[in-house]
């Protein structure tokens, strides 16, 4: 917003693209649960995933088509990630993890399309995703280990005097997980799109800036596609790491 004040002609509002617009309201008194552009694009992502994967697997041939091998590649990639990070036991949670991964990936990539909306650029969504992971993983830990799960926070090898302090530190870092987990994804998606918007707006500001601006936008768009994939990967592998901690207690 500071930029708007400084640049006279330049009217850049990089955050405008993240506005939530209600198509219709469902007012429950405490909150408006109306259908928004965010919800629309979340369902577009779901539809895109289902159409893509359904088309890819409908052939079900021994020698895969290009699409089928892409779908199988994603499947094996996530499956190996789960197994390598959290062990064979974690494979029963693979469908959940795969769903989260492909949803984030699709939302991130659909967000790269001009005039679309990036669902994952909102902390509401990423906090929800990270908290779901956090709560599920904690529940899984307690279900598997019972109260023994608390030993996860108790540094048994440390000097006895330091143990309570280290325990508090462990608890803090455990509680910090969902927050950094969600901020990492949301902030990355938001920052990339905001920067793209700013650079793109330079093209409209001055004829001299058109060419460097376009070059910048193209380069950054390529980088953003990379970030979109990378952040989906990072979110998923951290999920696997947390799951591993809960299943195997270090």
């Amino acid at each position: 917003m500071a930029k708007e004040a400084v640049e006279g002609e330049l009217n850049i509002d990089p955050m405008h693209q993240f506005d939530i617009k209600y198509f219709f309201d469902i007012d429950l008194g405490i909150a408006n649960m109306g259908f928004t552009n965010s919800a629309l694009f979340a369902f577009i992502a779901v539809a895109a995933i289902v159409v893509f994967l359904w088309t890819a697997v409908s052939g079900h041939s021994l020698v895969p088509s290009r699409m089928q091998s892409v779908a199988e590649g994603i499947y094996e990639f996530v499956r190996n990630m789960v197994r390598d990070t959290a062990g064979d036991e974690a494979l029963k949670y693979f469908p959940y993890i795969f769903t989260v991964f492909i949803f984030i990936l699709a939302c991130n990539l659909i967000g790269m399309i001009p005039y679309s909306f990036t669902v994952t650029s909102h902390f509401a969504v990423t906090v929800f995703l990270a908290l779901s992971v956090f709560i599920s993983v904690t529940v899984i830990g307690f279900l598997k280990h019972g109260t023994h799960f608390f030993s996860f926070f108790w540094p048994a090898q440390a000097p006895p005097a330091l143990r309570p302090i280290l325990c508090i530190i462990e608890v803090i870092s455990y509680l910090a997980r969902p927050i950094s987990h969600s901020i990492r994804l949301g902030a990355n998606m938001m920052a990339g799109h905001a920067v793209l918007k700013v650079i793109g707006a330079f093209a409209g500001a001055s004829a001299l800036l058109v060419v460097p601006s376009i070059v910048g936008v193209v380069g950054l768009t390529a980088l953003e596609v990379l970030v979109a994939v990378l952040q989906a990967y990072v979110f998923t592998i951290l999920t696997c790491v947390y799951l591993n901690d809960a299943l195997n207690l270090h």
Binding site: E76, F77, N80, M81, D84, I165, I168, I169, E170, I172, S173, L175, A176, I179, S180, I183, R184, A187, N188, L226, V227, L230, Q231, Y233, V234
Partner: protein, 108 residues
């Protein structure tokens, strides 16, 4: 008469051995564990990720401390102590993250 025959037998042998090696290689590829490819672009978000982890840890610690202060009426005390603990926790997480990167670099 014997010499060309012997040569032919030798080349047959060789091609059979090659076939055997190829079959073994394919089998290993089929059964062997697949390594997850880690991308070097992960380093892009490394610094940013560490800052986030540190700040988040301090804030979480501070929040717990503030809650305790609110409960006991000892305002700056627990806020500072647990904020400090949060800082340590953040450093710890960063070190763990860095170790993860080193391990990744090792396997990549």
């Amino acid at each position: 008469m014997a010499d060309p025959d012997g040569k032919a037998g030798e080349t047959d042998r060789k091609s059979l051995d090659e076939l055997g090696a190829r079959i073994d290689a394919a089998r290993e590829k089929l059964e062997g564990p697949k390594r997850v490819q880690t991308t070097k672009y992960k380093t892009l978000s490394r610094a940013w990720q560490m800052i986030v982890e540190l700040v988040v840890s301090v804030v979480v610690g501070g929040c717990i401390g503030y809650a305790l202060d609110w409960a006991f009426g000892t305002l700056p005390l627990f806020l500072l102590i647990l904020g400090g603990f949060g800082f340590v926790a953040g450093i710890k997480t960063i070190l763990a993250t860095a170790r993860g990167f080193v391990e990744d670099d090792g396997t990549a």
